[in-house]
Symmetry: C2
Subunit: 429 residues, 2 copies
Amino acid sequence: MTRRELLAGFTGALAPAWGAVRPDRLRQRIEKLSTFGRIAGGTFSNGVSRVGFSDADVAGREYVLGLMKHAGLQPRIDPAGNIWGRRNGRQDDLPPVLFGSHIDSVPNGGNFDGDLGSLGAIEVIEVLNETGARTRHPLEVVVWTNEEGVAYNNGLCGSRAAAGKLVPGELDHVWNGVRKADAFRKIGGDPDRIAEARIRRDLKCYLELHIEQGGTLDREGVAIGVVEGIVAIDRFAVEIAGFGNHAGTTRMADRQDALLAASRLVVAVNDIARTMPGRQVGTVGHLDVHPNAPNVVPGRVRMTVEFRDLSQATLRTMLERLRKAASEIGDVTRTTVTLNPASSHEAALADPALQDLVESSAKKLGFNSRRLPSGAGHDAQMAARLCPMGMIFVPSVGGISHSPKEFTSWEDCARGVQVLLESVQRAGA
Amino acid sequence: MTRRELLAGFTGALAPAWGAVRPDRLRQRIEKLSTFGRIAGGTFSNGVSRVGFSDADVAGREYVLGLMKHAGLQPRIDPAGNIWGRRNGRQDDLPPVLFGSHIDSVPNGGNFDGDLGSLGAIEVIEVLNETGARTRHPLEVVVWTNEEGVAYNNGLCGSRAAAGKLVPGELDHVWNGVRKADAFRKIGGDPDRIAEARIRRDLKCYLELHIEQGGTLDREGVAIGVVEGIVAIDRFAVEIAGFGNHAGTTRMADRQDALLAASRLVVAVNDIARTMPGRQVGTVGHLDVHPNAPNVVPGRVRMTVEFRDLSQATLRTMLERLRKAASEIGDVTRTTVTLNPASSHEAALADPALQDLVESSAKKLGFNSRRLPSGAGHDAQMAARLCPMGMIFVPSVGGISHSPKEFTSWEDCARGVQVLLESVQRAGA
């Protein structure tokens, strides 16, 4: 899609007041960023492995720093490694409108998760520079550190630092032989001053453009998702203790089969999530069997159960039903089923006024939209602790993400950035 | 139990004509054999790790060779590493009565599985030597090579060689970096002449004393199990292909969850085995999830299904029901469930006359008995291809086997050897 084609979609009255994004430039930059962490000899469609703090991450950050300099953003790196850039407003003492995303990826990830929101934020600044428009509030672009959390097994790293939510002792964590403090140093951060990464000044609001990573928009042919909030996630570590025994000599009636109990629990988790009204999900993604031999009745299973929903009440009901199912299954299979809470992340609701703003921006630009929750976590959930938060989703083809097959059409990418531009402008007006 | 106490159980008319085993000697030898493969600093109750072809196995074999020499058996090792010993009969050209077992173990196994039948066979010879009794048929004791098949993942190694059932290319298999041909050399075998390990001469019959490894005798307070046969085992490798996806962004209705399908199949296998009349068993012992992450809907599962029963017709019915369940589960979960036959072992029925012989021997000695199938595999199933086969079971406390907790009371061990002695005598009379 050329800039001309994007603009051709706008009728006179609805033509963007603030100029239009250049889809070709956006695409060229997303493709360039994809080379940092690409497998040797690969192409764009091979996806990317740019794990936070890796050499590829450092190289990708250098590229982004260059783009931000080019856009006049005079980037700086905070002690947590987050990259910040600022464009002054007409009233520069007003709280800034903040927007951005991340550029780290999962191993064998895609080229849109985070990259679109980061490079889209810079594109917004480029367009404003080209039109010479200036908002009343200052604008700030941020590229957060290590959102995926593959490194150190704990994500939203930079945004948690900004929200004052680092874990005690987090700097001492070691991953691949490197202390996290040293990882921060590697990307230009300063672990000795990490507390200063916490944001204590006023922010007008935070906006983040991101691919949906689910299939709702793509399936329904909707261009823009207006995010209602980021779901809460309750995760449990389940341990099932049966009795391991010879598969040939142990009668069915005498078995205490931990895998049979686990299987009934997997089915129960699915039933619980499916039979309640709403959009909640329940997943058993991890399950290990001991001793895991074809001819031994399993004696022990370790598995995870994860529930997600925007509503805390729904999560409470799901947990109640899980406990009841676990107890019944333990009785029937003569095993001991233990549910241990592993982690609990609260929901982060999008600001209603920002939802309206994004929705009306899409409408003004002639793009259809729908409201939906984000089932995935985002830096926006930490930003929501600092100021009103809003998110813009664009379709993921087939709902695929965290995969080299992750794809969003270049047209949808441009539409998303255009909505971000419109929303930023109106929020900062 | 002393020899005196064992004999005290016999009334005059029922006193064994052929002398009585010495429980103290039997125990002392089982305890001595347990030291070969015991963990450093451990005791008898730590069990044993004497995997076939290991240094511990070689050491244990040396010990057994010494015992056989002591008993006048003039042991020899055949090309497959099986240890043979012979005690002449009054008519030494008659086919011999063969009896024995194995001394290799699983890792972290117990001290009775195989050891009792091997050292019990030598004890039978010792008692005959002490009483000076001589059977009409010659007697032969055999200690089979690598019954468990932990090494090279294929058991009944020596007895398969004897039955001419080695797999083509088996000598070239590599395990822990060692070619199987070299493993045979390590224990005194001769891979270049392995075909000569096949038994082509007539055998009167084969008898094997073994622990039950299940809980039937222990639960019912029965001293002697008269084995009806060794069950057939059908094993399937099941592959379930779903679609791996983000656990937060993929609606329940859109999922193709391979673990959900696998769990339904685990439940179905259990239902199939439980709801049919009979003593068949069905087991899913091995299950691997991919990618096995808490926040990813599983895209693929590999699992095993194993069915065991004496009756081929029962196994056929179980397979039919498994296929039907797999097809239905694939439809409901929108996954592809593929059942691949992995291995199929025919049942080996015990000779009815030998079952009667063992039963009446137990009765004569004043021990209660019951008939039962063997759910576990044994060298006897290969011997059954060569001659009439019979097996004697003694109780496993709690039905536990392949575990350091495997235990059979010394009294029950002695009773089993006494029944073996009686049966061997009468078979060789």
